[in-house]
Symmetry: C2
Subunit: 526 residues, 2 copies
Amino acid sequence: MTSLFPVNKEKETSTEIEKGGSIMSRPQTPEPTLNGQEDTPVGSPDDVADGIQHSHRMLSFSDALLSIIATVMILPVTHTEISPEQEFDKSVQRLLATRIAVYLMTFLIVTVAWAAHTRLFQVVGKIDDTLALLNLACMMTITFLPFTFSLMVTFPEVPLGIFLFCMCVIAIGVVQALIVLYAFHFPHLLSPQIERSAHRRLYRQHILGIIMRGPALCLAAAGFSLFFYPASYLLMATVIFLPYVSKAAGWCRAHLMGPREPPAHSMEVFTFDLHEPLSKERVEAFSDGVYAIVATLLILDICEDNVPDAKDVKEKFQGSLVAALGESGPHFLAYFGSFATVGLLWFAHHSLFLHIRRATQPMGLLNTLSLAFVGGLPLAYQQTSAFAQQPRDELESVRVSCAIIFLASIFQFAIWTTALLREGDTLQPSARFGGREHAFMFAKLALYPCASLLAFACTCVLSSFSTAIFHAMQIAVPFTFLLLRLLVRLALASLRALRGLVGPVIAQPAPGAADEAQSPLLPAPC
Amino acid sequence: MTSLFPVNKEKETSTEIEKGGSIMSRPQTPEPTLNGQEDTPVGSPDDVADGIQHSHRMLSFSDALLSIIATVMILPVTHTEISPEQEFDKSVQRLLATRIAVYLMTFLIVTVAWAAHTRLFQVVGKIDDTLALLNLACMMTITFLPFTFSLMVTFPEVPLGIFLFCMCVIAIGVVQALIVLYAFHFPHLLSPQIERSAHRRLYRQHILGIIMRGPALCLAAAGFSLFFYPASYLLMATVIFLPYVSKAAGWCRAHLMGPREPPAHSMEVFTFDLHEPLSKERVEAFSDGVYAIVATLLILDICEDNVPDAKDVKEKFQGSLVAALGESGPHFLAYFGSFATVGLLWFAHHSLFLHIRRATQPMGLLNTLSLAFVGGLPLAYQQTSAFAQQPRDELESVRVSCAIIFLASIFQFAIWTTALLREGDTLQPSARFGGREHAFMFAKLALYPCASLLAFACTCVLSSFSTAIFHAMQIAVPFTFLLLRLLVRLALASLRALRGLVGPVIAQPAPGAADEAQSPLLPAPC
């Protein structure tokens, strides 16, 4: 791997000589160097002049769009109004279940579309104006998918919803096929491995086959929808779950038959298959988008609904705005609670991916699952605040919140354990077993699962204090994060004191460990 | 500038030797090399192990959060309901004006906060866990600002809104001061220029002074709000507009007294002042966030409001779902129109910033103004679709839409003309006067202003066809973008044919120009 590095530098230097000072302004690709793209020639000013551009910014924009679309369908769920006098009856339950189903289906299908988009632009290394416009058309079609789901769920027996869905998938497939054909027609747009390959024509057939598989199934489903719609639902489910099933199957197979050969091999022979690791950079960008939109979803409702009406303030609260605001106090609490939780889960995710070198398939799947539950957090918090006026249901909603937090964080923890299974490939040395950051990383990721489990257990024992317990957890966790390094050090020290010797997990001798523990709090000696 | 490059490479090589193969996994900083950070040491695995991280991902996350907060307040504006029978009367007008004011104020203050955040993290080069958590706290406080504006605008005579606003600004200031103090306490977190500087203590005073200026004004405003609130509004306006005024003043001064010394100087002596160019990377990230959220805002309403009710379909449309959907056809048109316009404006922005080497202060200001109008686009499109049922107001709403598109795109064009004023500093060679991409860039940026002006003029002449004209424009513009290269070539060729010689704008001889025109459509000869 390191042997490729001087080659890159030579390239840069030669471009520099050609172009003089203008090398400073080249767009840098922050693509991590492990994704089979490590010898992409750095975009020289020449390229820019020809209208050929590095795709970095377009990909971030697409990631942002897709993460918003994936998450925004949680809003109808949170907007399901349950007035205090109304019972939480069947019709409300069905409405809520419908909307949650739409949210989950949207999330899944958008994640599949995102993964396909990631693969596609691992093949197409550079873009020009036509590709940028085609990509916009692709995005526009994807954003229409949530609506078809809403139709499907509201009218399960009218085949129009599924017909529209299939049309969308076919349109997306056609646009993606156009992108592939265009890029193979102008091979300088392709990723360098494929551009240089002798089997370029084979690659094209292979990629087109993968891209058109979903649309072909959907074409059949659209046909069925006209006379026998249950079959189309079955086909649709196949389209959505096929990548997940094949991922899971591949992972199981790899585990039963032993790990595949080391990844250094896949860097020379570039293969476009579903078992290549995803670009870590894009996993991060997509996750960032989801976290950012989820963290801010509730402020919208706050600004729209919780500004009291001028007339109300005069009549009900004798002109006291403070009293009127006190009325919606639980909503503010819900907002800050939700923001803090999402923010801290982002923080754990950020710390985790800092120590990850490459994101394998199972890790990507676990990340998707974690994100789907993160998207449910605003719902949980809103329910907690809505039921604060109804003590009868308080306990349930607190427990649901704890469960959602637990699931979102336990899947993060699962990413970490999955990474540890193949730590040589996936983790930085410092985060591996015996590494300097291992115990700390463990504590960071275990904090939320433990806290939510603890809160859940407490509500079982002290059911009348459930809200108080939940709020105590909300307040305690951020401070624990701040003091985590200190706490981990104390825990390790007390472990050592108890056992009278250095524990087997900490491979380094005690003096070294003491050094290491101090380093984050003291300036580097340089 | 180029002389610094080998230094960088030497550093990288030495790190490589120290660490062996693990150099491949270092996080790359996509910070453009012109922002006074060009010799930031590349984050070695050592840093990661100590919990010190490059701030890149945290900054993208902050950019995403801030751009969502800046734009999300347009939603209450679009939710202002005007029922068909209701007159567009005074009370609706006042409500709409109120909400637009909240949107604009939020946009401005969030942009100011974003710029301050950018400056702050140009000083603080790396982060550790504590800084990441402090940054989250800062973000949480910023997201609360829109609510204080809503309060202020709804109850202009109750000082509570302004009091809360001031408290928020003070809280933000305190958190930012904590970040600065923490970073100066552990100087390895600072940007290398400051870390190495002998005047570090002076820098700290200077930066703290700048950061605490706004909060100090707000403290005074909070005091005034308790007994004489008009004074606090005045102080608040100062806080919001101070950076803009000082920017404009600085720009005028620079123009009257001639350009400042070349920027090569500022790379050795790092100064933290308001006249440093912003990080181009972060301007792009913030703009991407705004474009992405604006493009998808309307899908939310579509999914929530335009799924017809099962009972309605049975009673009003005799069970025909297609007829029921036809009812909300204008909304779909509005969505796709809005998405396409925002997407194409993003495309123009993307093309423009590809040719920009550094973003100066006036360019940043113009970009903010352009983005503020882009945020208004969903409103314009929704009004167009809402009024489609009321032919009386159709003309007005089409004109408002044209005006918003014109303003959003003309400010983009202004970024480009401003960049041309100092093209040596700000533009890539190919985009300068006489460069190969100059004419094409001009056409790309002039397309939307021209189209919207043309549509506006047409509605004046043919007022009864205003909607048709608007829709024709919506359909024509994307195709024009696709064919733009061809059209520009045709235009240049006809210009040449008309004048019988190469025009003065095209500096190159005709054969070269012909070559250049072909290059984007043909593969590079490599």
